[in-house]
C-alpha cells in the first residue's frame, strides 16, 4: 500500500513538473505562437535569482521564489521582447533561431558571472515518511503551487478584462486594434507575463534540481513537447499532455531507469503527434484556453 501511495505521489509530481515547465511556454508559444527556444534559460534564470537572493542577500526563500524571481525574469523577458522578439513576429523559424541564439547568449552570460559550476538550493521543509518510504515535503508544495498557478491562469484568461484582451488580440490582431487595443503592447505584456511564469517555474523547481548554466537544455525540449502535444487549447492541452507524459515517464522510471523514462516520454510524444498532428486538443477545440 505504501509503495502504491508513494508511486502515486511521484506520478503526480512528475505531472506537476511538466505542467509547471509548460505554463510559461503555453503563454508564449501556445497563445502567441512565438517559438521561445530560450524558455529553458528563462527557467535557469529563475533558479539563479533564488540562489543569489537567498545566498548573497539573505532574502527569505519564499519571497525570492514566489515574488522576486517572476518579476525579475519577467523584466528580462520584456527587455528581449523589445530588442529581439518584436522584430520577428510571424516569422516562426527566424524566431526559433533567434531565441536559440538568445539561449546561448544567456548561458554565456551566466557562465561568465557564476562559472560553469553546479549550484543547489537547499530543499526546504524537510521530508515526511510514508510507511517505509520517505519523500520530500516540498514535492507536495510544488504540486500545490502548480495547481494554484493553473487555476490562476484559467481565472485570469476567462474572467478578467486583461485575459479577454489578450485572447482577442492573439486571435485577431487587426480586429483588436480596431477596438482600440494596441496589439504591440498586448504582445509585449503577454510575452513578459509568459517569461515571468517561466521564471517562477524555474524558481519553484530549483530546490528539486541542480542549478547550472546549461540546465535549460533539459527543460526546453520537455516543455515544448508538452505544449505542442497539448495542441490548440494551450492550457487545457498542456495539462492533459503533462498528465500523459508525467505518468508514462514516472511509471517507466520506477520500473526501469529514469533514462528509459525520458525515452518513453519521447516515443509517446512522437506517436501521439502521428495520431493527432495538431495536438491532443487540436481536433476538438478551436483556439481557446
Amino acid at each position: 500500500m505504501d509503495l502504491v501511495g508513494i508511486q502515486i505521489i511521484q506520478v503526480l509530481s512528475g505531472i506537476a513538473t511538466l505542467a509547471l515547465m509548460g505554463a510559461g511556454l503555453a503563454v508564449i508559444f501556445g497563445m502567441m505562437r512565438v517559438i521561445n527556444f530560450a524558455h529553458g534559460e528563462f527557467m535557469m534564470l529563475g533558479g539563479y535569482v533564488v540562489i543569489v537572493c537567498t545566498e548573497q542577500f539573505g532574502i527569505n526563500l519564499w519571497v525570492a521564489m514566489l515574488i522576486i524571481a517572476p518579476i525579475l525574469v519577467g523584466l528580462i523577458g520584456l527587455v528581449f521582447e523589445r530588442i529581439l522578439i518584436r522584430f520577428l513576429y510571424g516569422r516562426m523559424i527566424d524566431t526559433l533561431i533567434a531565441t536559440w541564439g538568445l539561449s546561448l547568449f544567456l548561458i554565456g552570460v551566466i557562465t561568465w558571472i557564476f562559472g560553469n559550476v553546479t549550484r543547489g538550493v537547499q530543499t526546504p521543509l524537510g521530508s515526511y515518511s510514508f510507511g517505509d518510504y520517505s519523500e520530500k515535503t516540498y514535492t507536495l508544495v510544488m504540486i500545490a503551487f502548480t495547481v494554484v498557478i493553473y487555476l490562476a491562469i484559467f481565472v485570469v484568461l476567462r474572467r478578467t478584462k486583461l485575459g479577454l484582451i489578450a485572447r482577442g488580440t492573439m486571435q485577431n490582431p487587426s480586429q483588436a486594434s480596431c477596438l482600440g487595443v494596441s496589439p504591440p503592447r498586448v504582445y509585449m505584456v503577454t510575452f513578459a507575463i509568459g517569461a515571468a511564469l517561466t521564471g517562477l517555474a524555474g524558481a519553484i523547481l530549483a530546490p528539486l534540481n541542480t542549478v547550472i548554466p546549461t540546465i535549460g537544455v533539459s527543460y526546453v525540449a520537455q516543455a515544448f513537447i508538452t505544449v505542442i502535444t497539448g495542441g490548440a487549447a494551450a492550457f487545457t492541452g498542456t495539462v492533459l499532455a503533462s498528465g500523459v507524459f508525467g505518468a508514462v515517464r514516472q511509471i517507466i522510471s520506477f520500473q526501469w531507469t529514469p533514462i528509459l523514462g525520458q525515452v518513453f516520454l519521447l516515443i509517446t510524444a512522437v506517436i501521439l503527434l502521428r495520431i493527432f498532428p495538431t495536438g491532443i486538443t487540436g481536433r476538438y477545440f478551436r483556439r481557446s484556453t
Binding site: L88, M92, I93, F105, G108, V109, W112, A221, L266, P277
Partner: protein, 384 residues
C-alpha cells in the same frame, strides 16, 4: 534587373560556380600533401569532416526546408556505428558503409513519423532536438558492462577510444597512412559536394526545391511531398554519418559529446552564417566559425564560456540583420548595392570565383531585399 533574373534561372545557372569550387578543392587535394606538414594535414582532415557535416545540414535545411535541430545525432550515430562495427569486424570496409546506413535507417524511421505525420517545421525542430537529447542521455548512461554490442562496449560517458582507422579494403593489416587518410577524406568531401550539386540539378533536386518553395502546389501537381522530404532527410543523415566516421578517423575517439547540443547548435550556425540555400556558404561558415571557436580557446565542442556568449550574439545579429547569410548577401550587394557595396562584394566574390547562385531566392520586392540587409524590419524570409 538582370542580376536576380539570372539567379531565377537557377536550375542551370550554377555550373561554373560548382566547377570553380570543386576545382579549388581538387587543387588543395594535390597541393597540401606536398607541403609535407603532417600537423597541417591532420587539422585539414578535421575541418574536412566538419565541412561534410555542414554540407549535410546545408542540403536538408537550405534546399529541403527541413529545420533539423539535431543533425549532430546522425553524426554521432555514424561515429558509433563505425566504432562498434569496426571493433567487432576488425576491418573497416563494411563499418565505413554502416556509418552511413545506420543513421539513414534511423532517419527513415524518425522521418516517417515526422513527415508522414505532417508535422510542421517547428514541431520537426523540437522533435529532432528532443531525440538528440534522449540519445545523448542514453549513450551517457551506457558505461556498464551490460551495454555492449558484440565485442564492443559502449563505454557510456567515457567514450570509446583507440578506434581502428581505415584500412585498405579487404586487408585489415594495411592501415591507411596519414597522407592516404587525407586523400580519402578530401576526396569524399569533393564527391559529396559535387554529388549534392548533381542531385540538386536533377529532376529530384528540382522537385525538392519546389517542395520547399510551395509544398501545397507541389502536392497539387501530384508529387508526394512526404516522400521527397523523407528522402532528403535520409540523404542528409547518411552524409552526416559519413562526417561522423571521418571525424573518428581524425581523433580515434568518440564520446556522447558527438550528440551534444552544442555541436547541433554549431551546425545550424554554420549554415545560418554562411547562407541558407547555398552549399558554398555553409562550407565557408563552418571553417570560419570553427576557427573562431578555436581562437576562443575552447576547441570544437564549444563548452567554454565565451563561445556561448559570442555565438549567441552572432546568431541574434545574423537573424536580425543578415538573415540571408554572408554569401547571398554579398551576391545581392554585387548585383544591386551602392558603389561601395558593389566594390566590396565584387572583390570578395571574385576572389572566390563565380559563386553558386543561392538557392533561397525567396523573392520579396527588390527594395525590401536590400533593406533586409540594412534593417531588421524588412524582408520576411519564412512564409509562416
Amino acid at each position: 534587373m538582370t542580376g536576380l533574373l539570372a539567379s531565377g534561372w537557377r536550375f542551370d545557372s550554377n555550373r561554373h560556380g560548382t566547377w570553380a569550387v570543386a576545382g579549388v578543392m581538387v587543387v588543395l587535394l594535390f597541393i597540401l600533401p606536398v607541403l609535407d606538414d603532417p600537423l597541417l594535414l591532420l587539422q585539414v582532415r578535421y575541418y574536412v569532416s566538419m565541412i561534410v557535416l555542414a554540407l549535410s545540414m546545408a542540403f536538408i535545411w537550405g534546399f529541403g526546408g527541413i529545420m533539423c535541430f539535431g543533425q549532430s545525432m546522425f553524426f554521432g550515430l555514424g561515429g558509433y556505428a563505425y566504432a562498434i562495427s569496426v571493433g567487432n569486424i576488425g576491418e573497416s570496409t563494411a563499418p565505413f558503409f554502416l556509418a552511413m546506413i545506420i543513421p539513414a535507417i534511423f532517419a527513415a524511421i524518425l522521418g516517417y513519423f515526422m513527415f508522414f505525420g505532417r508535422l510542421n517545421d517547428v514541431y520537426v525542430a523540437v522533435i529532432t532536438l528532443a531525440v538528440t537529447l534522449a540519445l545523448y542521455y542514453f549513450i551517457n548512461s551506457t558505461s556498464g558492462d551490460e551495454y555492449s554490442i558484440g565485442k564492443a562496449r559502449l563505454m557510456g560517458f567515457n567514450g570509446i577510444s583507440s578506434i581502428r582507422k581505415f584500412n585498405w579494403p579487404g586487408d585489415p593489416k594495411a592501415l591507411l597512412s596519414a597522407n592516404h587518410l587525407f586523400y580519402f577524406s578530401m576526396g569524399l568531401l569533393i564527391a559529396t559536394y559535387v554529388g549534392l550539386k548533381m542531385l540538386l540539378g536533377s529532376t529530384f533536386g528540382r522537385v525538392v526545391v519546389a517542395v520547399k518553395e510551395n509544398e501545397l502546389r507541389a502536392e497539387l501537381l501530384g508529387y508526394d511531398v512526404r516522400l521527397y522530404k523523407l528522402t532528403v532527410f535520409v540523404i542528409g543523415a547518411a552524409i552526416a554519418g559519413l562526417a561522423g566516421c571521418l571525424s573518428i578517423n581524425y581523433k580515434n575517439f568518440i564520446s556522447p559529446n558527438a550528440f551534444h547540443l552544442s555541436l547541433a547548435a554549431q551546425i545550424i550556425m554554420w549554415v545560418l552564417v554562411g547562407g541558407v540555400g547555398t552549399l558554398l556558404g555553409p562550407m565557408i561558415g563552418c571553417v570560419v566559425l570553427l576557427y573562431v571557436s578555436f581562437i576562443l580557446g575552447t576547441g570544437a565542442s564549444g563548452g567554454g564560456l565565451n563561445t556561448y556568449l559570442i555565438f549567441g550574439l552572432i546568431v541574434m545579429i545574423f537573424v536580425l540583420a543578415i538573415p540571408q547569410g554572408i554569401v547571398p548577401t554579398l551576391r545581392d550587394w554585387r548585383e544591386q548595392g551602392g558603389r561601395y557595396r558593389r566594390a566590396i562584394a565584387g572583390a570578395v566574390l571574385n576572389l572566390a570565383e563565380q559563386l553558386p547562385a543561392p538557392g533561397n531566392v525567396h523573392v520579396r520586392a527588390f527594395g525590401e531585399r536590400l533593406l533586409g540587409v540594412l534593417g531588421p524590419t524588412a524582408g520576411d524570409r519564412t512564409k509562416g
